[in-house]
């Protein structure tokens, strides 16, 4: 059974989004998504409603892909990052910690080297916030009767 092993406070989420925002702006990335290894969306930039379904999909498919590649570990050894070259855009996913992943989507004009270079700093910044959240259990309670279904 999946236990959500972390819980982020409102101000921590704001801080994460702000860090994602500055990472995206400084490298001219199209989209940056932070997710956990189960594909749960934590934060994304640009933080606008229209991007949410796309960010959600990137989180699920990104984490699932990383999860699937785990099955190749005996062949390729441990994976730290993955790169997908699309026709219009590229995606780079890297493992921040065993629990958290960051996906960057960018056009071909953005050199992959710069994303790799700057990811170290954002990883460190995000890891320090995420580490604090680890071990805090989710406090939010929603009862079935409250759901409009």
């Amino acid at each position: 059974m999946d236990m959500v092993e972390y819980s982020l406070k409102e101000e921590e989420i704001k801080e994460i989004v702000s860090k994602l925002e500055s990472f995206r702006n400084s490298l001219f990335l199209d989209l940056v998504v932070l997710m956990d290894d189960g594909g749960r969306l934590i934060g994304y930039s640009p933080y606008v409603d229209g991007q949410r379904p796309i960010a959600y999909r990137v989180a699920v498919v990104g984490a699932a892909t990383v999860g699937a590649v785990d099955q190749l570990e005996s062949i390729i050894s441990s994976k730290r990052h993955m790169f997908f070259a699309g026709v219009d855009k590229n995606m780079y996913i890297h493992v921040i910690s065993p629990k958290f992943l960051l996906a960057s989507v960018f056009s071909h004009k953005v050199p992959l080297g710069s994303v790799k270079l700057f990811k170290e700093r954002i990883s460190k910044d995000l890891a320090s916030i995420l580490e604090k959240a680890l071990g805090r259990m989710e406090k939010k309670v929603i009862r079935f009767e409250d759901i409009a279904l």
Partner: protein
């Protein structure tokens, strides 16, 4: 809140049909649908329906991701991730097949340590001639909620989802 529900059962038990019907029934809540399939229409890895629900008060939000497991044996090695992040399980029983066969899917839940997660049993394909008796299914899964269904007609599909959601949310709520 993010919840993940896994639909598991034998190949062709009706797992993807459940998701397709739910997509129709709750079309106003669908935020995404992913189905990675072979040219024969069999699920390879990702078969997901995502629903975005609000609480009645309007200030809470629940994202529900419904996944199915690929039924074919050769895709078994991709199940680790699917089984590893689960809040609740719907075990889809194919009433046209023997209980012995269906129990293989249940055994797999045991293998991945999922028996402690909330589980709802859906007795699907109740319209087949000479279906597996419902009493046998209830007796075998004694203590678990059993919902009768004909997924391809949409019968019992929403009821199954509501039951597993109720159990998952009750399991997460503090006692008292």
């Amino acid at each position: 809140m993010n919840l993940r529900i896994l639909y598991h059962g034998l190949g062709m038990a009706g797992k993807t049909t459940n998701l397709e019907k739910l997509r129709e029934i709750y079309s106003g809540y669908v935020s995404d649908r992913i189905h990675q399939q072979t040219t024969e229409g069999r699920t390879v890895y990702l078969d997901m329906l995502s629903l975005n629900l609000r609480t009645k008060s309007g200030n809470g939000e629940v994202w529900i991701s419904l996944f199915t497991t690929p039924g074919q044996e050769r895709f078994r090695l991709l199940r680790g991730w699917l089984f590893g992040h689960v809040d609740g399980v719907v075990l889809v029983i194919d009433s046209s097949r023997s209980m012995e066969e269906n129990l293989r899917a249940y055994e797999e839940l045991k293998e991945y340590g999922l028996l402690k997660a909330p589980i709802v049993v859906q007795a699907n394909k109740r319209d087949v001639p000479d279906p597996l008796p419902i009493e046998v299914i209830k007796e075998t899964f004694n203590g678990l909620t059993v919902v009768e269904a004909i997924a391809r007609e949409g019968y019992g599909v929403a009821e199954t989802l509501r039951e597993i959601l109720r159990e998952v949310l009750n399991a997460k709520a503090p006692v008292g």
